[in-house]
């Protein structure tokens, strides 16, 4: 097991990463020297209270922000000093985002929503764009819903469309920021089930959450506090989302 781990490629490698927000009078140290790796095929949960720096880290990992200090290698490329346009290109080619609030375009079909990242990649032709979007929707089990608008979908379905969108550009890592924050327990487990399925297929996932029971679905936990990693644990008994779903009382009863 350990040897296998050594051979695995590092998707993300961060060393001595700091982020300081200059708020004029005060300087906020959001991250204080983070060292961490995420290897290919890992399912990492980043835990922590609000203000612990986990969102800042996710923004930097997602190339939405740049660190004040330190090095960040994404898929063997140094991205700590890229300019805006280069960062945009990295986000487009290497990263898949899933947000707490789904962030789907309103009045836009599920299929078109999934197509969106590919519209910013001129290498992908129209025909390929549609095929890939459909494949992606199939992975999250929404093939029959491709023509529906977000307001015609449930919260869980909307999040699944967002996951399909994150997958479509074939990213090296999927970053999810509180993906279950707006969902009830059952739907949360459904979404986690999809994450686990995708992870089994070899997709690297990093997920930010403050819910302890959600982090149990991930293979590895990083606990953040005050801009530092306080604890790193490898989950002993990874919960299986499908089994957890079955343990829940039937939906009809829950409705009452």
């Amino acid at each position: 097991m350990k040897e296998q781990d050594q051979e695995r490629k590092k998707i993300i490698s961060v060393s001595n990463l700091s982020k300081i927000y200059d708020m004029g009078a005060v300087k906020v140290h959001a991250l204080r020297g983070i060292d961490m790796d995420i290897k290919e095929g890992e399912f990492t949960a980043i835990m922590g209270h609000s203000g612990s720096g986990k969102s800042t880290l996710l923004n930097i990992l997602g190339c939405l922000d740049v660190p004040t200090e330190g090095k960040y290698y994404l898929d063997d490329a140094d991205v700590s000093h890229l300019n805006k346009n280069q960062l945009a290109r990295m986000r487009n080619r290497k990263i898949g985002f899933v947000f707490q609030t789904y962030n789907l375009l309103p009045r836009t079909s599920a299929l078109e929503n999934v197509e969106l990242p590919m519209l910013y990649n001129p290498d992908i032709r129209r025909k390929e764009r549609k095929d890939r979007a459909m494949n992606s929707l199939e992975l999250v089990g929404l093939t029959d819903w491709s023509g529906h608008f977000p307001n015609q979908l449930s919260g869980g379905q909307q999040q699944r469309v967002a996951i399909a969108r994150a997958l479509v550009n074939d990213p090296v890592i999927m970053l999810a920021d509180e993906p279950t924050g707006n969902l009830d327990t059952r739907t949360s487990f459904e979404v986690m089930e999809i994450f686990q399925e995708l992870n089994e297929k070899g997709i690297t996932i990093a997920l930010v959450t403050h819910e302890a029971d959600i982090s149990k679905f991930a293979s590895r936990n990083l606990l953040f506090r005050d801009g530092k990693i306080r604890k790193e644990t490898v989950t002993e008994n990874i919960k299986n989302a499908r089994e957890e779903l079955e343990k829940l009382p039937p939906e009809d009863e829950e409705m009452e």
Binding site: L64, R89, P106, R107, P117, L119, Y120, N121, P122
Partner: protein, 430 residues
């Protein structure tokens, strides 16, 4: 050598592929912009409204202006071809000015001199005006009579429908012959009588009708151009006005349109020489060219046109500001969308282009609809109000390109604002 050439070929192919990618990127942007306009149909339509009204009114106003100008021009060109008119000037008797044209300063000798020495002059004819009661059988009519040379008909492009024109002997002998207009003929004769060869009496002097004029219709000032009788100049001058010397007006036709100015200068020089008047004095005669008259009238209608088009373009600009407003609101409203687009890989440039393209598409579409409305409403002016309206293609092109420029101009600021958003903040925007 070969290696180099091949490498260069590869580079060319790479360039080609790159440019192809760029095109595809633009195509994608087009798809993005069209999709988002389509998602907000009502908003898009309302935004376009200002441009639609602006473009339509610019086109309609220019059409009305152009139409009135064209009609004035055609009416003035009805004066004749390359016409120059010479009038005697006003005289001062003891310091009191008399009416213009009252001076007895133009004589037959002057006319003959112009004919003999001004090379740019093609036709020349004096005009003697009179009017009177005309009687034919039991009918009578009052009309104006003009004594003219035969050439006058050529100067004014007057055509004789039936019968003949004056002969040289008519002029020499002051023959009592005349050519009458359609209105005169209608009032003196019934429709079964051919006026040619009939006898009429003008102020009790018996005349023989030798010709009937073509119908000319209404003149530029609303006068009936067919209510007229032409007789030889000498006949009117001597028999009706009892004057032998003075000419009240000379009509001249220059050899060509370009020579009008030259002819008028030649005439001016000649008359000044004959009357011993230096260049710096006011001459006792006035020379008016057709171009001057056209200019006088068109300058008025030009002012009108500029005014109308000015008001219309203000509405276009207001329409543009409307676009900017809605785009600004739209940028704020779609902040999260912009954030998301950036998160999935849109560069600032892509966002700028998207919003700019949306603004341009809006204004172009508005321009298109507006142009259609403009042409349509111009047609309506023609059919309903019977206004002389000319839709010129240049006004359509002008209004359309103006709309495009406005789209770019007023689209830039909101688009730039959108492009400068920071993805993280935009995503968190509530």
């Amino acid at each position: 050598m070969n290696e180099k050439r091949r490498r260069r070929g590869d580079e060319e192919i790479n360039e080609l592929i790159k440019s192809l990618y760029k095109k595809m990127n633009l195509l994608n942007l087009f798809v993005i912009a069209l999709r988002s306009l389509n998602k907000n149909k009502i908003r898009s339509l309302l935004t376009m409204l200002g441009i639609i009204i602006g473009v339509a009114s610019v086109i309609a106003m220019l059409a009305i202006g152009q139409g009135s100008r064209d009609s004035i021009e055609s009416q003035i060109s009805g004066l004749g071809s390359n016409v120059i008119m010479v009038f005697p000037g006003a005289t001062f008797r003891g310091g009191v000015a008399t009416a213009a044209g009252s001076a007895q300063s133009l004589e037959m000798d002057d006319l003959e001199a112009i004919r003999a020495s001004c090379t740019s002059v093609k036709y020349i004819s004096p005009v003697a005006r009179s009017n009177g009661q005309i009687i034919a059988g039991s009918n009578n009519w009052n009309s104006s009579i003009r004594g003219v040379f035969n050439e006058y008909l050529d100067i004014r492009n007057i055509e004789v429908e039936s019968g003949s024109r004056f002969s040289e002997t008519d002029e020499k002998r002051a023959s009592k012959v005349c050519i009458i207009g359609q209105t005169v003929a209608e009032n003196l004769f019934d429709e079964y009588t051919d006026p040619v060869g009939e006898k009429i009496r003008i102020n009790k002097i018996p005349f023989t009708v030798i010709g009937l004029l073509n119908e000319k219709g209404q003149g530029g000032m609303g006068e009936d151009q067919d209510d007229i009788i032409y007789a030889p100049f000498s006949t009117v001058q001597r028999r009706m006005r009892g004057d032998r010397q003075n000419i009240s007006q000379i009509y001249i036709s220059a050899v060509s349109e370009e020579k009008i100015e030259l002819a008028s200068e030649e005439i001016d020089e000649l008359l000044r020489a004959r009357k011993n008047i230096s260049k710096y004095e006011d001459p006792p005669f006035n020379i008016r060219t057709q171009t001057e008259i056209v200019e006088m009238f068109t300058s008025t209608s030009n002012t009108m046109m500029v005014l109308l088009a000015g008001i219309a373009s203000i509405s276009l600009i207001v329409g543009g500001i409307g676009i900017m407003n809605i785009m600004l609101v739209s940028v704020t409203e779609r902040t999260r969308e912009i954030g998301l687009r950036m998160a999935v890989g849109a560069r600032g440039k892509d966002i700028l282009r998207q919003f700019l393209l949306e603004a341009i598409l809006l204004s172009l579409l508005g321009g298109l609809i507006g142009a259609a409305f403009g042409v349509l409403s111009s047609r309506l002016f023609v059919t309903i109000m019977d206004w002389p309206v000319t839709v010129s293609s240049y006004s359509v092109v002008l209004a359309f390109s103006f709309a495009f420029i406005i789209g770019v101009f007023f689209g830039w600021y909101p688009a730039g604002k959108a492009a400068r958003l920071i993805p993280m903040d935009a995503l968190r925007f509530e």
